[in-house]
Amino acid sequence: MTSPTIDDLQAITEQVWLSYLDPEGVTPFLPSEQGPGMPCVIATVSVTGAWDGHVVMSFSQKASRLSASALLGMEEEEVSVDDVADAVGELVNVIGGNVKSLLPDGSLLSLPHVATIDEGVNKWPAAVEVCRLQGSWQNEPIAITVLTSKSSG
């Protein structure tokens, strides 16, 4: 079964940044070894059906606020908690939808789920990592991970 690769994630991410977060091409997403630590904001969508798994975006708290600011055309200090949840949820929805288009027909995409994790770990015990793209945007860490359920591996 075909699975998404880090090259796929990179191509999708580039399109999302050029369309919404960096239309002028001056603050691109820069891949690196460093992903977000704690605390962080995570946004996920699940894919079920012919392929079972999750697409997870994690952001430093500042990266999540910068995302809402860019998408809404507002100053960073003006964005609310709801704005941040809406913005990062929509970003993972767009990236998840594009990941789903690489998967077999007959899969369904869930609505996004957004959470803030202050400390500890972000664990997915029933899933294994398929690919992960991490890096920084405006010097703030962001990671995108595709996980598949162990049962559908």
Binding site: L18, E90, N98, K100
Partner: protein
């Protein structure tokens, strides 16, 4: 023209509004729905000239809205703006009577190409 933008994300409704303007489609009356049920009810109540709808929404999905409208004899021009653009979904949309499917992420050029013939 009156255009209904249906998306459960306020951020995305705002991006669609901004992109319409960037694509040169200013001056139209825009109304918004935050879920599929509201979109369906607004089409009935306000009779827009065009619907731009997300696919994956609470209450009713976009395709359920379109099918319910067509089943009720409402033939408003209807297109999807969605993150999912598989051949399977394009076929489903076309069979239900959608005019187009624009995939997210989109640009103003995408809107110009697809909506130009409709909005003039």
């Amino acid at each position: 023209m009156k255009i209904l933008i249906a998306d459960d994300s306020r951020v995305m409704r705002q991006i669609v509004t901004r992109t319409l303007r960037q694509a040169g489609f200013s001056g139209h009356e825009l109304i918004e729905a935050a879920d599929g049920r509201e979109a369906h009810d607004l089409v009935i109540a306000q009779k827009p000239d065009l619907v731009l709808s997300d696919w994956n929404m609470p209450e009713m999905t976009g395709i359920e809205v379109l099918r319910a409208l067509r089943a009720g004899g409402v033939d408003v021009p209807f297109g999807f703006v969605t993150s999912e653009g598989t051949d399977e979904m394009r076929k489903m949309a076309e069979e239900a009577g959608a005019l187009f499917l624009i995939t997210k992420p989109f640009t103003a050029d995408n809107f110009t190409d697809v909506l130009g013939p409709i909005l003039g």
